[in-house]
Symmetry: C2
Subunit: 102 residues, 2 copies
């Protein structure tokens, strides 16, 4: 299963872009981007969205992959990971039902 970092690197290379070029667009050091691509450094929503722009990914798709990857790594070591996700679904449904203001 391909990580977001791997997707980014593959797409960047297929577009013939250098680390330095993409990093400059993102206003970050190329060292950071290098680490993000190799999953050696966490990143955040803002950077993911800018990466989607410059690398022509669908923004929502990349965001979904990014957030779900983060969550998966957070809970994969728990026995109850599956229960957690089922319970989270219910809670999200509840929170989105306008009964609650966050």
């Amino acid at each position: 299963m391909e990580t977001v970092g791997q997707k980014i690197r593959a797409k960047r290379e297929s577009m013939g872009l250098l680390l330095r070029q993409v990093a400059s667009y993102l206003n970050i050091d190329q060292a950071i981007l290098s680490k993000i691509e190799r999953n050696e450094r966490k990143t955040n929503k803002d950077i993911i969205l800018k990466l989607a722009e410059v690398l022509e990914f669908d923004k929502e798709d990349l965001l979904v992959q990014f957030i779900s990857e983060k969550i998966a790594y957070e809970i994969a070591n728990e026995d109850c990971a599956d229960k957690v996700l089922k319970a989270a679904e219910q809670k999200v449904k509840y929170l989105k039902s306008n009964l609650v203001k966050i």
Copy 2:
């Protein structure tokens, strides 16, 4: 939908325990426990597990509620929250399949 904080407070009061007593068991200041119960302060897995002990909750149940609540609040403001959870399920399955060492 009851939050973990609310469950804790309800159980603590039903058991006739004071903030100070439970907090001392947890080795935290009672001010922190007060805030945890009112969702004014984030907590962590260790404290949740100790709370399960002293308040006689099933540890896994409380942990599932705690983690799922955290995830739900993190993503409830995203349009794609549901997609995220579905994708996270797949990734967890993959990570747990021993194909990957985290």
